[in-house]
Assembly symmetry: C2
Homo-oligomer: 221 residues x 2
């Protein structure tokens, strides 16, 4: 019985890591598509999102079956419940990558991001890709040092998010209304993406150490 349970748990861990790899690829390609106005790349991100959604459904079904058949308690139970939450978070991260790709596609053949904000979004692209890569590493290795790196990358995203507002409100900003909308929304997508990465990092820390720092502002706007 225990062996079956361990194997099932391993499979759930592998599925989470696989979802995270797909999210990593999606956010990286979405950011490049956005910065370079690459239509094909944007479309590939949009087309690939269903695979993440599908993986979430399978993983959830597997978790519910595991709860029903193995009736885990204590730590085992928390691992399964956390997996349910993390799969939903990863699915949402995939959606945010898709939203960024949709903005890139919507403005093609132009670049969505006005030149004045390009450097900021290059920074967000780098930080968000870092969050995604480290999320995969954390889910694979459970190395808690990686969790703090995710928190720092998220801090970077928050600062860059503030920078976008500063740029938009500066009197030198001469973007069109469409450019103002795009900067506002895409910066928000990146900022949320970072929050979700932090949410996963804290869940893994909780599972490993029993200390959950949910109160520390994961859900701030």
């Amino acid at each position: 019985m225990r062996e079956i349970f361990e194997a099932e748990l391993q499979q759930i861990g592998d599925d989470l890591a696989e979802m995270s790899r797909l999210v990593e690829s999606a956010i990286s390609r979405a950011g490049t598509a956005l910065l370079t106005a690459d239509l094909q790349l944007a479309q590939s991100v949009i087309a690939a999102d269903h695979a993440i959604d599908q993986l979430e459904r399978e993983l959830d079904e597997r978790c519910v079956l595991l709860l029903a058949q193995q009736q885990p308690v204590a730590t085992d139970l928390r691992v399964v419940v956390s997996a349910l939450r993390m799969s939903s978070t990863l699915e949402r991260m995939g959606d945010l990558a898709r939203h960024i790709a949709q903005v890139a596609r919507g403005r093609y053949p132009h670049r969505a991001i006005a030149p004045a904000a390009e450097a900021t979004f290059a920074g967000m692209h780098e930080a968000a890709t870092g969050v995604a890569q480290r999320t995969t590493t954390l889910l694979t290795t459970r190395d808690l040092a990686v969790a703090s790196t995710i928190e720092r990358e998220d801090d970077t995203l928050d600062l860059l998010h503030q920078d976008t507002f500063a740029a938009l409100l500066n009197e030198t900003w001469d973007g069109t209304a469409q450019q103002t909308i795009d900067v506002t929304l895409v910066a928000r997508y990146y900022e949320r993406f970072g929050d979700h990465g932090v949410s996963i990092a804290r869940r893994v820390v909780y599972l490993v150490t029993g200390d959950f720092a949910e109160e520390r502002g994961v859900t701030t706007p």
Copy 2:
């Protein structure tokens, strides 16, 4: 054993309804604060959000305990897992109401919403309040007719969301960059609020009928 389980399940249902009532109050007051630049009302929404977060944590803890102690299977198990998901959705709806209140507070003593977009946001306020009220009704009564009403209110929110883009991109739009940002973000908050209401509606329909229409675009941007 079964009696204890039923009582626990009833308590979880009551907690979800209570969370929904708090969300209903939050979104209604946030919208009024936004449209009338009412600082005190905005602050009351922001201050009250922690009660929703607290209720979510208690509810989650109760669900995990129930899974551990009662080891439900089949439908009972799905009810508990759905409650975990719905509490997280309601918590997020509370956050969105708080974000709207934060925009109202940030622009005080001015109104955040430019006059040209006021009518649209009055409509979003009404539709979102409708979604929240009906979510409470649905969670209390399990009356599936209410679920379709939530879907229709969400369709209204989506249309009004599109209207805000049309207004911002119209050549007659003469709002400041701050007003463009606020219209863009608050419209997005309302649109997401509606999506979350639909997500709860579909979960309740699934629990009652066994038919889950997750694929029908809940997570579209």
